[in-house]
Amino acid sequence: MPPGITLAADAPQLSAANTGFMLICSALVMLMTPALAFFYGGMVRVKSTLNMLMMSFISLGIVTILWVLYGFSIAFGSDHGSLFGWSSEYVGLSDIGITQLWPGYTIPVYVFAVFQLMFAIITPALISGALADRVKFTAWTLFIALWVTIVYFPVAHWVWGDGGWAFDLGVIDFAGGTAVHINAGAAALGVILVIGKRVGFKKDPMRPHSLPLVMLGAGLLWFGWFGFNAGSWLGNDDGVGAVMFLNTQVATAAAMLAWLAYEKIRHGAFTTLGAASGAVAGLVAITPSGGAVSPLGAIAVGAIAGVLCAMAVGLKYRFGYDDSLDVVGVHLVGGVAGSLLVGLFATGGVQSDAKGLFYGGGLDQLGKQAAGVFGVLAYSLVVSAVLAFLIDRTMGMRVPEDDEVSGIDQVEHAETAYDYAGAGGGTSTRSTGPSLAGREPAAAPNKKVDA
Protein backbone atom coordinates (compact mmCIF):
# COMPACT_ATOMS: atom_id res chain seq x y z
CA MET A 1 0.00 0.00 0.00
CA PRO A 2 1.37 3.37 -0.97
CA PRO A 3 2.12 6.25 1.31
CA GLY A 4 -0.39 9.07 1.06
CA ILE A 5 -0.90 10.74 -2.29
CA THR A 6 -0.49 14.45 -1.95
CA LEU A 7 -2.91 16.01 -4.35
CA ALA A 8 -2.65 19.65 -3.45
CA ALA A 9 -1.91 21.88 -0.55
CA ASP A 10 -5.50 21.48 0.55
CA ALA A 11 -6.84 18.40 2.28
CA PRO A 12 -8.01 15.72 -0.19
CA GLN A 13 -11.59 15.96 -1.41
CA LEU A 14 -13.82 12.98 -2.10
CA SER A 15 -13.24 11.96 -5.70
CA ALA A 16 -16.20 10.41 -7.45
CA ALA A 17 -13.90 8.91 -10.11
CA ASN A 18 -11.58 7.26 -7.59
CA THR A 19 -14.47 6.10 -5.45
CA GLY A 20 -16.24 4.51 -8.40
CA PHE A 21 -12.99 2.96 -9.60
CA MET A 22 -12.32 1.47 -6.19
CA LEU A 23 -15.82 0.04 -5.87
CA ILE A 24 -15.33 -1.72 -9.20
CA CYS A 25 -11.90 -2.94 -8.11
CA SER A 26 -13.41 -4.28 -4.88
CA ALA A 27 -15.99 -6.24 -6.88
CA LEU A 28 -13.20 -7.61 -9.10
CA VAL A 29 -11.24 -8.78 -6.07
CA MET A 30 -14.38 -10.38 -4.62
CA LEU A 31 -14.64 -12.45 -7.83
CA MET A 32 -11.19 -13.88 -7.19
CA THR A 33 -12.38 -16.02 -4.29
CA PRO A 34 -14.97 -18.03 -6.25
CA ALA A 35 -12.44 -18.06 -9.12
CA LEU A 36 -9.91 -19.59 -6.76
CA ALA A 37 -12.54 -22.11 -5.69
CA PHE A 38 -12.86 -23.29 -9.31
CA PHE A 39 -9.09 -23.19 -9.88
CA TYR A 40 -8.67 -25.50 -6.89
CA GLY A 41 -11.93 -27.42 -7.43
CA GLY A 42 -10.90 -28.65 -10.86
CA MET A 43 -7.58 -29.90 -9.53
CA VAL A 44 -8.98 -32.34 -6.98
CA ARG A 45 -10.58 -35.71 -7.59
CA VAL A 46 -14.33 -35.92 -8.28
CA LYS A 47 -15.10 -37.11 -4.77
CA SER A 48 -13.87 -33.93 -3.08
CA THR A 49 -14.83 -31.23 -5.57
CA LEU A 50 -17.55 -29.65 -3.45
CA ASN A 51 -15.43 -29.57 -0.32
CA MET A 52 -12.72 -27.74 -2.24
CA LEU A 53 -15.22 -25.19 -3.55
CA MET A 54 -16.71 -24.74 -0.09
CA MET A 55 -13.39 -24.24 1.67
CA SER A 56 -12.88 -21.09 -0.38
CA PHE A 57 -16.50 -19.98 -0.49
CA ILE A 58 -17.01 -20.15 3.29
CA SER A 59 -14.29 -17.55 3.71
CA LEU A 60 -16.66 -15.02 2.09
CA GLY A 61 -18.99 -15.63 5.03
CA ILE A 62 -16.68 -15.88 8.01
CA VAL A 63 -14.12 -13.22 7.21
CA THR A 64 -16.72 -10.65 6.15
CA ILE A 65 -18.37 -10.78 9.55
CA LEU A 66 -15.11 -10.75 11.53
CA TRP A 67 -13.83 -7.86 9.40
CA VAL A 68 -16.80 -5.73 10.39
CA LEU A 69 -16.65 -6.76 14.04
CA TYR A 70 -12.93 -6.18 14.67
CA GLY A 71 -10.74 -7.11 11.69
CA PHE A 72 -10.58 -3.70 10.07
CA SER A 73 -9.70 -2.17 13.40
CA ILE A 74 -6.80 -4.59 14.01
CA ALA A 75 -5.45 -4.18 10.49
CA PHE A 76 -5.91 -0.46 9.97
CA GLY A 77 -6.64 1.09 13.33
CA SER A 78 -4.16 3.27 15.23
CA ASP A 79 -0.82 1.55 15.67
CA HIS A 80 0.16 -0.22 18.88
CA GLY A 81 3.84 -1.12 19.09
CA SER A 82 4.20 -1.56 15.31
CA LEU A 83 2.47 -4.94 15.73
CA PHE A 84 -1.26 -4.37 15.47
CA GLY A 85 -3.82 -1.63 15.17
CA TRP A 86 -6.91 -0.76 17.18
CA SER A 87 -9.33 2.13 16.86
CA SER A 88 -12.63 1.90 18.68
CA GLU A 89 -14.48 3.85 15.98
CA TYR A 90 -13.63 1.10 13.49
CA VAL A 91 -15.08 -1.65 15.69
CA GLY A 92 -18.32 -2.69 14.05
CA LEU A 93 -17.63 -0.14 11.30
CA SER A 94 -20.44 1.84 12.85
CA ASP A 95 -18.84 5.08 13.91
CA ILE A 96 -17.75 6.17 10.43
CA GLY A 97 -19.29 8.93 8.38
CA ILE A 98 -20.34 8.00 4.86
CA THR A 99 -18.27 10.78 3.36
CA GLN A 100 -15.44 10.45 5.86
CA LEU A 101 -12.24 10.01 3.84
CA TRP A 102 -9.50 7.46 4.39
CA PRO A 103 -6.67 9.66 5.70
CA GLY A 104 -4.54 11.05 2.89
CA TYR A 105 -6.78 9.71 0.11
CA THR A 106 -9.77 10.75 -1.92
CA ILE A 107 -11.98 7.76 -1.18
CA PRO A 108 -14.31 7.14 1.78
CA VAL A 109 -13.21 4.94 4.68
CA TYR A 110 -16.03 2.55 3.78
CA VAL A 111 -14.60 2.07 0.28
CA PHE A 112 -11.14 1.37 1.65
CA ALA A 113 -12.63 -1.02 4.20
CA VAL A 114 -14.59 -2.98 1.60
CA PHE A 115 -11.60 -3.17 -0.77
CA GLN A 116 -9.34 -4.47 1.98
CA LEU A 117 -12.04 -6.88 3.12
CA MET A 118 -11.76 -8.73 -0.19
CA PHE A 119 -8.03 -9.27 0.42
CA ALA A 120 -8.76 -10.60 3.89
CA ILE A 121 -11.27 -13.05 2.38
CA ILE A 122 -9.08 -14.55 -0.31
CA THR A 123 -5.95 -14.99 1.81
CA PRO A 124 -7.21 -17.83 4.05
CA ALA A 125 -9.00 -19.31 1.02
CA LEU A 126 -5.58 -19.63 -0.64
CA ILE A 127 -4.40 -21.87 2.19
CA SER A 128 -7.16 -24.41 1.55
CA GLY A 129 -5.53 -25.75 -1.61
CA ALA A 130 -2.83 -27.41 0.48
CA LEU A 131 -5.40 -29.19 2.64
CA ALA A 132 -7.55 -30.74 -0.07
CA ASP A 133 -9.48 -33.94 0.56
CA ARG A 134 -8.83 -34.42 4.25
CA VAL A 135 -9.89 -31.64 6.64
CA LYS A 136 -13.07 -31.50 8.70
CA PHE A 137 -15.17 -28.59 7.53
CA THR A 138 -15.91 -27.40 11.08
CA ALA A 139 -12.20 -27.51 11.91
CA TRP A 140 -11.49 -25.48 8.77
CA THR A 141 -14.05 -22.80 9.66
CA LEU A 142 -12.57 -22.49 13.15
CA PHE A 143 -9.09 -22.31 11.63
CA ILE A 144 -10.12 -19.48 9.30
CA ALA A 145 -11.65 -17.48 12.14
CA LEU A 146 -8.60 -17.87 14.38
CA TRP A 147 -6.06 -17.47 11.59
CA VAL A 148 -7.36 -14.19 10.23
CA THR A 149 -7.61 -12.85 13.78
CA ILE A 150 -4.12 -13.81 14.92
CA VAL A 151 -2.23 -13.85 11.63
CA TYR A 152 -3.85 -12.00 8.73
CA PHE A 153 -5.20 -8.89 10.47
CA PRO A 154 -1.90 -8.14 12.30
CA VAL A 155 0.25 -8.95 9.25
CA ALA A 156 -1.86 -6.63 7.08
CA HIS A 157 -1.11 -3.96 9.70
CA TRP A 158 2.63 -4.70 9.59
CA VAL A 159 2.77 -4.36 5.84
CA TRP A 160 0.21 -1.67 5.03
CA GLY A 161 -0.87 -0.08 8.27
CA ASP A 162 0.45 3.32 9.26
CA GLY A 163 3.05 2.44 11.94
CA GLY A 164 3.40 -1.24 11.03
CA TRP A 165 7.03 -2.36 11.30
CA ALA A 166 7.43 -3.53 7.69
CA PHE A 167 5.71 -0.40 6.39
CA ASP A 168 7.98 1.83 8.45
CA LEU A 169 11.06 -0.13 7.41
CA GLY A 170 10.30 0.65 3.75
CA VAL A 171 9.35 -2.83 2.59
CA ILE A 172 7.63 -2.50 -0.79
CA ASP A 173 4.56 -4.67 -1.07
CA PHE A 174 2.32 -3.03 -3.61
CA ALA A 175 -0.69 -5.32 -3.45
CA GLY A 176 0.06 -8.15 -1.07
CA GLY A 177 2.95 -10.39 -2.08
CA THR A 178 3.96 -10.47 1.55
CA ALA A 179 0.67 -9.96 3.36
CA VAL A 180 -1.35 -12.26 1.10
CA HIS A 181 0.77 -14.78 -0.80
CA ILE A 182 3.78 -15.41 1.42
CA ASN A 183 1.47 -15.28 4.40
CA ALA A 184 -0.93 -17.87 2.95
CA GLY A 185 1.85 -20.05 1.51
CA ALA A 186 3.75 -20.18 4.79
CA ALA A 187 0.53 -20.92 6.67
CA ALA A 188 -0.23 -23.76 4.27
CA LEU A 189 3.19 -25.26 4.92
CA GLY A 190 2.74 -24.92 8.69
CA VAL A 191 -0.64 -26.65 8.67
CA ILE A 192 0.28 -29.55 6.41
CA LEU A 193 3.38 -30.30 8.47
CA VAL A 194 0.98 -30.81 11.38
CA ILE A 195 -1.91 -32.65 9.75
CA GLY A 196 0.06 -34.91 7.40
CA LYS A 197 -0.45 -36.40 3.99
CA ARG A 198 -3.51 -37.51 2.11
CA VAL A 199 -4.24 -41.23 2.24
CA GLY A 200 -2.47 -42.69 -0.78
CA PHE A 201 -0.10 -39.75 -1.35
CA LYS A 202 2.62 -40.81 -3.80
CA LYS A 203 0.84 -44.16 -4.30
CA ASP A 204 -2.61 -43.51 -5.74
CA PRO A 205 -3.20 -41.43 -8.85
CA MET A 206 -4.56 -38.02 -7.84
CA ARG A 207 -5.14 -36.48 -11.22
CA PRO A 208 -7.17 -33.27 -11.57
CA HIS A 209 -10.76 -34.19 -12.39
CA SER A 210 -11.52 -31.17 -14.58
CA LEU A 211 -8.88 -29.06 -16.26
CA PRO A 212 -11.57 -26.89 -17.91
CA LEU A 213 -12.65 -25.81 -14.40
CA VAL A 214 -9.01 -25.08 -13.53
CA MET A 215 -8.70 -22.96 -16.67
CA LEU A 216 -11.96 -21.13 -15.93
CA GLY A 217 -10.76 -20.40 -12.41
CA ALA A 218 -7.32 -19.25 -13.57
CA GLY A 219 -8.86 -16.99 -16.23
CA LEU A 220 -11.22 -15.38 -13.72
CA LEU A 221 -8.37 -14.99 -11.24
CA TRP A 222 -6.34 -13.18 -13.89
CA PHE A 223 -9.32 -10.90 -14.59
CA GLY A 224 -10.01 -10.20 -10.92
CA TRP A 225 -6.34 -9.60 -10.28
CA PHE A 226 -6.51 -6.33 -12.19
CA GLY A 227 -8.72 -5.04 -9.39
CA PHE A 228 -6.42 -6.55 -6.80
CA ASN A 229 -3.30 -4.93 -8.23
CA ALA A 230 -4.37 -1.77 -10.05
CA GLY A 231 -6.78 -0.93 -7.23
CA SER A 232 -4.07 -1.07 -4.59
CA TRP A 233 -2.95 2.48 -5.36
CA LEU A 234 -6.40 3.53 -4.09
CA GLY A 235 -6.90 6.02 -6.86
CA ASN A 236 -6.14 7.01 -10.38
CA ASP A 237 -4.74 10.49 -10.14
CA ASP A 238 -1.16 9.85 -11.18
CA GLY A 239 -1.04 6.84 -13.48
CA VAL A 240 0.68 4.46 -11.05
CA GLY A 241 -2.38 2.20 -11.08
CA ALA A 242 -2.14 2.00 -14.87
CA VAL A 243 1.53 0.95 -14.70
CA MET A 244 0.48 -1.72 -12.22
CA PHE A 245 -2.32 -2.89 -14.54
CA LEU A 246 0.06 -3.16 -17.48
CA ASN A 247 2.78 -4.90 -15.48
CA THR A 248 0.21 -7.37 -14.15
CA GLN A 249 -0.65 -8.37 -17.71
CA VAL A 250 2.97 -8.48 -18.85
CA ALA A 251 4.37 -10.53 -15.97
CA THR A 252 1.49 -13.01 -16.13
CA ALA A 253 2.04 -13.58 -19.84
CA ALA A 254 5.78 -14.04 -19.32
CA ALA A 255 5.28 -16.46 -16.45
CA MET A 256 2.82 -18.59 -18.39
CA LEU A 257 5.24 -18.84 -21.33
CA ALA A 258 8.18 -19.56 -19.04
CA TRP A 259 6.35 -22.31 -17.16
CA LEU A 260 5.26 -23.91 -20.45
CA ALA A 261 8.78 -23.73 -21.91
CA TYR A 262 10.24 -25.32 -18.78
CA GLU A 263 7.62 -28.03 -18.90
CA LYS A 264 8.18 -28.79 -22.57
CA ILE A 265 11.92 -29.17 -22.02
CA ARG A 266 11.61 -31.09 -18.75
CA HIS A 267 8.49 -33.22 -19.32
CA GLY A 268 7.88 -33.12 -23.05
CA ALA A 269 4.49 -31.40 -23.27
CA PHE A 270 2.81 -28.00 -23.01
CA THR A 271 0.14 -28.79 -20.44
CA THR A 272 -3.08 -26.94 -19.68
CA LEU A 273 -2.41 -27.15 -15.96
CA GLY A 274 1.02 -25.69 -16.62
CA ALA A 275 -0.44 -22.72 -18.50
CA ALA A 276 -2.94 -22.04 -15.72
CA SER A 277 -0.34 -22.51 -12.97
CA GLY A 278 2.23 -20.35 -14.75
CA ALA A 279 -0.29 -17.54 -15.10
CA VAL A 280 -1.10 -17.67 -11.38
CA ALA A 281 2.62 -17.77 -10.50
CA GLY A 282 3.14 -14.62 -12.57
CA LEU A 283 0.19 -12.88 -10.92
CA VAL A 284 1.56 -13.75 -7.50
CA ALA A 285 5.07 -12.55 -8.30
CA ILE A 286 4.04 -9.21 -9.81
CA THR A 287 1.71 -8.43 -6.91
CA PRO A 288 4.42 -7.02 -4.62
CA SER A 289 6.71 -5.76 -7.37
CA GLY A 290 4.49 -4.41 -10.15
CA GLY A 291 4.46 -0.83 -8.91
CA ALA A 292 8.23 -0.68 -8.67
CA VAL A 293 9.38 -2.18 -11.97
CA SER A 294 9.22 -1.23 -15.64
CA PRO A 295 7.34 -3.38 -18.18
CA LEU A 296 10.65 -4.99 -19.17
CA GLY A 297 11.32 -5.64 -15.50
CA ALA A 298 7.86 -7.21 -15.30
CA ILE A 299 8.82 -9.64 -18.07
CA ALA A 300 11.87 -10.63 -16.05
CA VAL A 301 9.88 -10.97 -12.82
CA GLY A 302 7.25 -13.11 -14.56
CA ALA A 303 9.71 -15.35 -16.39
CA ILE A 304 11.85 -15.94 -13.31
CA ALA A 305 8.81 -16.70 -11.15
CA GLY A 306 7.34 -19.00 -13.82
CA VAL A 307 10.44 -21.18 -13.94
CA LEU A 308 11.05 -21.11 -10.17
CA CYS A 309 7.48 -22.12 -9.38
CA ALA A 310 7.46 -24.85 -12.03
CA MET A 311 10.59 -26.25 -10.41
CA ALA A 312 9.21 -25.81 -6.89
CA VAL A 313 6.00 -27.80 -7.36
CA GLY A 314 8.05 -30.99 -7.55
CA LEU A 315 9.62 -30.40 -4.14
CA LYS A 316 6.73 -31.96 -2.25
CA TYR A 317 7.50 -35.33 -3.80
CA ARG A 318 11.15 -34.98 -2.92
CA PHE A 319 10.61 -33.82 0.66
CA GLY A 320 7.49 -35.89 1.26
CA TYR A 321 5.11 -33.17 2.52
CA ASP A 322 1.70 -33.25 0.91
CA ASP A 323 0.84 -29.77 -0.32
CA SER A 324 -2.12 -31.08 -2.33
CA LEU A 325 -2.50 -28.28 -4.86
CA ASP A 326 0.93 -26.62 -4.54
CA VAL A 327 0.08 -23.58 -2.45
CA VAL A 328 3.69 -23.56 -1.25
CA GLY A 329 5.13 -24.12 -4.71
CA VAL A 330 3.07 -21.39 -6.36
CA HIS A 331 2.08 -18.82 -3.71
CA LEU A 332 4.95 -18.99 -1.24
CA VAL A 333 7.71 -19.39 -3.82
CA GLY A 334 6.07 -16.93 -6.24
CA GLY A 335 5.50 -14.41 -3.46
CA VAL A 336 9.06 -14.68 -2.17
CA ALA A 337 10.44 -14.37 -5.71
CA GLY A 338 8.34 -11.30 -6.52
CA SER A 339 9.11 -9.60 -3.22
CA LEU A 340 12.85 -10.15 -3.44
CA LEU A 341 13.01 -9.19 -7.12
CA VAL A 342 11.86 -5.71 -6.11
CA GLY A 343 15.32 -5.43 -4.60
CA LEU A 344 16.84 -6.09 -8.01
CA PHE A 345 14.47 -4.54 -10.53
CA ALA A 346 12.96 -1.49 -8.77
CA THR A 347 13.52 1.49 -11.06
CA GLY A 348 12.87 4.17 -8.50
CA GLY A 349 10.61 5.94 -10.94
CA VAL A 350 7.08 4.73 -10.27
CA GLN A 351 5.67 3.79 -6.88
CA SER A 352 8.61 4.95 -4.78
CA ASP A 353 12.09 6.29 -5.36
CA ALA A 354 13.74 3.18 -3.90
CA LYS A 355 16.07 1.64 -6.50
CA GLY A 356 17.03 -1.99 -6.87
CA LEU A 357 20.49 -3.46 -7.39
CA PHE A 358 20.23 -3.37 -11.19
CA TYR A 359 19.26 0.30 -11.18
CA GLY A 360 22.08 1.56 -9.03
CA GLY A 361 20.35 1.19 -5.68
CA GLY A 362 22.79 -1.29 -4.15
CA LEU A 363 21.63 -3.98 -1.76
CA ASP A 364 19.67 -1.70 0.55
CA GLN A 365 16.18 -2.39 -0.82
CA LEU A 366 16.91 -6.10 -1.22
CA GLY A 367 17.75 -6.25 2.48
CA LYS A 368 14.49 -4.53 3.40
CA GLN A 369 12.51 -6.87 1.17
CA ALA A 370 14.21 -9.89 2.74
CA ALA A 371 13.35 -8.64 6.22
CA GLY A 372 9.69 -8.30 5.24
CA VAL A 373 9.61 -11.68 3.50
CA PHE A 374 11.22 -13.69 6.25
CA GLY A 375 9.50 -11.87 9.10
CA VAL A 376 6.08 -12.65 7.71
CA LEU A 377 7.08 -16.14 6.56
CA ALA A 378 8.37 -17.18 9.97
CA TYR A 379 5.47 -15.70 11.94
CA SER A 380 2.82 -17.20 9.69
CA LEU A 381 4.50 -20.62 9.52
CA VAL A 382 4.90 -20.97 13.27
CA VAL A 383 1.57 -19.51 14.38
CA SER A 384 -0.38 -21.46 11.73
CA ALA A 385 1.29 -24.71 12.76
CA VAL A 386 0.46 -24.04 16.42
CA LEU A 387 -3.16 -23.23 15.55
CA ALA A 388 -3.50 -26.41 13.51
CA PHE A 389 -1.91 -28.40 16.34
CA LEU A 390 -4.33 -26.99 18.92
CA ILE A 391 -7.37 -27.61 16.73
CA ASP A 392 -6.14 -31.11 15.95
CA ARG A 393 -5.70 -31.88 19.64
CA THR A 394 -9.12 -30.59 20.64
CA MET A 395 -11.68 -31.24 17.92
CA GLY A 396 -9.52 -33.14 15.42
CA MET A 397 -8.42 -31.59 12.14
CA ARG A 398 -8.90 -34.54 9.80
CA VAL A 399 -11.86 -36.64 8.76
CA PRO A 400 -11.61 -40.39 9.50
CA GLU A 401 -9.54 -42.34 6.99
CA ASP A 402 -12.56 -44.27 5.69
CA ASP A 403 -14.39 -41.04 4.96
CA GLU A 404 -11.36 -39.59 3.22
CA VAL A 405 -11.12 -42.61 0.98
CA SER A 406 -14.82 -42.76 0.16
CA GLY A 407 -14.94 -39.01 -0.45
CA ILE A 408 -15.15 -35.96 1.79
CA ASP A 409 -18.07 -34.45 -0.17
CA GLN A 410 -20.55 -37.05 1.00
CA VAL A 411 -19.42 -37.00 4.62
CA GLU A 412 -19.04 -33.27 5.17
CA HIS A 413 -21.59 -31.82 2.77
CA ALA A 414 -24.10 -34.64 2.13
CA GLU A 415 -23.80 -33.99 -1.59
CA THR A 416 -21.84 -35.11 -4.62
CA ALA A 417 -20.61 -32.75 -7.31
CA TYR A 418 -21.88 -34.59 -10.35
CA ASP A 419 -24.70 -36.99 -11.17
CA TYR A 420 -23.88 -39.01 -14.23
CA ALA A 421 -26.57 -41.62 -13.58
CA GLY A 422 -28.92 -40.11 -16.12
CA ALA A 423 -26.34 -39.37 -18.81
CA GLY A 424 -27.26 -40.89 -22.15
CA GLY A 425 -30.73 -41.94 -21.03
CA GLY A 426 -29.63 -45.18 -19.40
CA THR A 427 -31.87 -48.24 -19.30
CA SER A 428 -35.59 -48.02 -18.69
CA THR A 429 -37.23 -49.93 -15.89
CA ARG A 430 -40.92 -50.38 -15.25
CA SER A 431 -42.23 -47.78 -12.85
CA THR A 432 -43.37 -49.08 -9.51
CA GLY A 433 -45.16 -45.86 -8.65
CA PRO A 434 -48.82 -46.02 -7.61
CA SER A 435 -50.07 -43.61 -10.27
CA LEU A 436 -48.79 -41.21 -12.87
CA ALA A 437 -49.73 -38.15 -10.85
CA GLY A 438 -48.11 -39.28 -7.63
CA ARG A 439 -45.16 -40.98 -9.25
CA GLU A 440 -41.78 -40.47 -7.69
CA PRO A 441 -38.90 -39.99 -10.09
CA ALA A 442 -37.14 -43.28 -10.71
CA ALA A 443 -34.47 -43.69 -8.06
CA ALA A 444 -31.05 -43.16 -9.56
CA PRO A 445 -28.64 -45.92 -8.70
CA ASN A 446 -26.54 -44.66 -5.84
CA LYS A 447 -23.35 -45.00 -7.77
CA LYS A 448 -20.18 -43.27 -6.71
CA VAL A 449 -18.36 -41.81 -9.65
CA ASP A 450 -14.67 -41.31 -9.28
CA ALA A 451 -11.92 -40.28 -11.62
Binding site: R207, H267, A269, S277, G314, G329
Partner: protein
Protein backbone atom coordinates in the same frame (compact mmCIF):
# COMPACT_ATOMS: atom_id res chain seq x y z
CA UNK B 1 -22.05 -70.00 -37.35
CA UNK B 2 -19.36 -67.81 -35.81
CA UNK B 3 -19.13 -64.65 -33.73
CA UNK B 4 -16.53 -62.24 -35.03
CA UNK B 5 -15.23 -59.81 -32.42
CA UNK B 6 -12.98 -56.89 -33.24
CA UNK B 7 -11.39 -54.63 -30.59
CA UNK B 8 -10.01 -51.71 -32.57
CA UNK B 9 -9.21 -48.01 -32.56
CA UNK B 10 -12.38 -45.92 -32.17
CA UNK B 11 -11.72 -43.71 -35.18
CA UNK B 12 -11.79 -46.71 -37.54
CA UNK B 13 -15.44 -47.45 -36.77
CA UNK B 14 -16.88 -45.73 -39.84
CA UNK B 15 -14.51 -47.47 -42.26
CA UNK B 16 -15.19 -50.86 -40.71
CA UNK B 17 -18.94 -50.29 -40.75
CA UNK B 18 -18.89 -49.28 -44.40
CA UNK B 19 -16.68 -52.21 -45.38
CA UNK B 20 -19.00 -54.64 -43.58
CA UNK B 21 -22.06 -53.11 -45.25
CA UNK B 22 -20.38 -53.41 -48.65
CA UNK B 23 -19.73 -57.06 -47.92
CA UNK B 24 -23.40 -57.60 -47.15
CA UNK B 25 -23.46 -57.75 -43.37
CA UNK B 26 -26.90 -56.67 -42.12
CA UNK B 27 -26.20 -55.89 -38.49
CA UNK B 28 -23.55 -55.41 -35.90
CA UNK B 29 -23.12 -54.42 -32.25
CA UNK B 30 -20.70 -51.73 -31.11
CA UNK B 31 -19.53 -51.26 -27.52
CA UNK B 32 -17.16 -48.72 -26.05
CA UNK B 33 -14.28 -50.53 -24.46
CA UNK B 34 -10.90 -49.85 -22.97
CA UNK B 35 -7.77 -51.89 -22.74
CA UNK B 36 -4.20 -52.22 -23.79
CA UNK B 37 -1.96 -54.43 -25.83
CA UNK B 38 1.74 -54.24 -26.32
CA UNK B 39 1.78 -50.45 -26.43
CA UNK B 40 0.76 -50.21 -22.73
CA UNK B 41 -1.24 -46.97 -22.82
CA UNK B 42 0.31 -43.54 -22.49
CA UNK B 43 1.80 -41.09 -19.99
CA UNK B 44 0.11 -37.92 -18.70
CA UNK B 45 1.88 -35.07 -16.87
CA UNK B 46 0.30 -32.85 -14.20
CA UNK B 47 2.68 -30.22 -12.80
CA UNK B 48 5.58 -32.55 -13.45
CA UNK B 49 3.94 -35.59 -11.81
CA UNK B 50 3.74 -38.32 -14.43
CA UNK B 51 0.86 -40.78 -14.51
CA UNK B 52 0.86 -43.87 -16.68
CA UNK B 53 -2.59 -44.46 -18.10
CA UNK B 54 -2.68 -48.16 -19.02
CA UNK B 55 -6.17 -48.44 -20.40
CA UNK B 56 -6.77 -46.63 -23.66
CA UNK B 57 -10.16 -46.17 -25.35
CA UNK B 58 -11.17 -48.86 -27.86
CA UNK B 59 -14.35 -50.01 -29.53
CA UNK B 60 -15.55 -53.55 -29.64
CA UNK B 61 -17.50 -54.62 -32.75
CA UNK B 62 -19.40 -57.88 -32.80
CA UNK B 63 -20.85 -59.54 -35.90
CA UNK B 64 -22.54 -62.92 -36.31
CA UNK B 65 -21.55 -64.64 -39.55
CA UNK B 66 -22.03 -67.91 -41.43
CA UNK B 67 -19.03 -70.23 -41.37
CA UNK B 68 -18.14 -69.85 -45.04
CA UNK B 69 -17.99 -66.03 -44.77
CA UNK B 70 -15.74 -65.88 -41.72
CA UNK B 71 -12.33 -65.89 -43.43
CA UNK B 72 -13.36 -63.14 -45.84
CA UNK B 73 -14.98 -61.08 -43.11
CA UNK B 74 -11.85 -61.24 -40.99
CA UNK B 75 -9.95 -59.90 -43.99
CA UNK B 76 -12.49 -57.12 -44.52
CA UNK B 77 -12.37 -55.99 -40.90
CA UNK B 78 -8.59 -56.15 -40.65
CA UNK B 79 -8.17 -54.17 -43.86
CA UNK B 80 -10.57 -51.45 -42.71
CA UNK B 81 -9.15 -51.27 -39.18
CA UNK B 82 -5.49 -51.17 -40.07
CA UNK B 83 -3.54 -47.92 -39.72
CA UNK B 84 -0.15 -49.62 -39.50
CA UNK B 85 0.60 -48.00 -36.15
CA UNK B 86 0.89 -49.69 -32.79
CA UNK B 87 -2.44 -50.23 -31.02
CA UNK B 88 -4.52 -51.16 -34.08
CA UNK B 89 -6.21 -53.93 -32.11
CA UNK B 90 -7.28 -57.54 -32.64
CA UNK B 91 -9.98 -59.50 -34.44
CA UNK B 92 -11.05 -63.05 -33.65
CA UNK B 93 -13.86 -65.48 -34.22
CA UNK B 94 -15.48 -68.09 -31.98
CA UNK B 95 -18.10 -70.76 -32.71
CA UNK B 96 -21.72 -69.93 -31.88
CA UNK B 97 -24.18 -72.66 -30.91
CA UNK B 98 -27.46 -70.95 -31.69
CA UNK B 99 -28.86 -67.60 -32.68
CA UNK B 100 -32.52 -66.60 -32.47
CA UNK B 101 -34.20 -63.57 -34.02
CA UNK B 102 -36.31 -62.17 -31.20
CA UNK B 103 -39.13 -60.80 -33.42
CA UNK B 104 -39.89 -63.95 -35.42
CA UNK B 105 -38.29 -66.80 -33.53
CA UNK B 106 -36.22 -67.84 -36.60
CA UNK B 107 -33.13 -69.85 -35.73
CA UNK B 108 -29.68 -70.49 -37.10
CA UNK B 109 -28.54 -68.86 -40.36
CA UNK B 110 -32.08 -67.55 -40.96
CA UNK B 111 -31.76 -65.43 -37.87
CA UNK B 112 -28.78 -63.49 -39.21
Amino acid sequence: MKLITAVVKPHRLDEIKEALQAFGVHGLTVTEASGYGRQRGHTEVYRGAEYTVDLVPKIRIEVLAEDEDVEQLLEVVVKAARTGKIGDGKVWSVPVETAVRVRTGERGPDAL
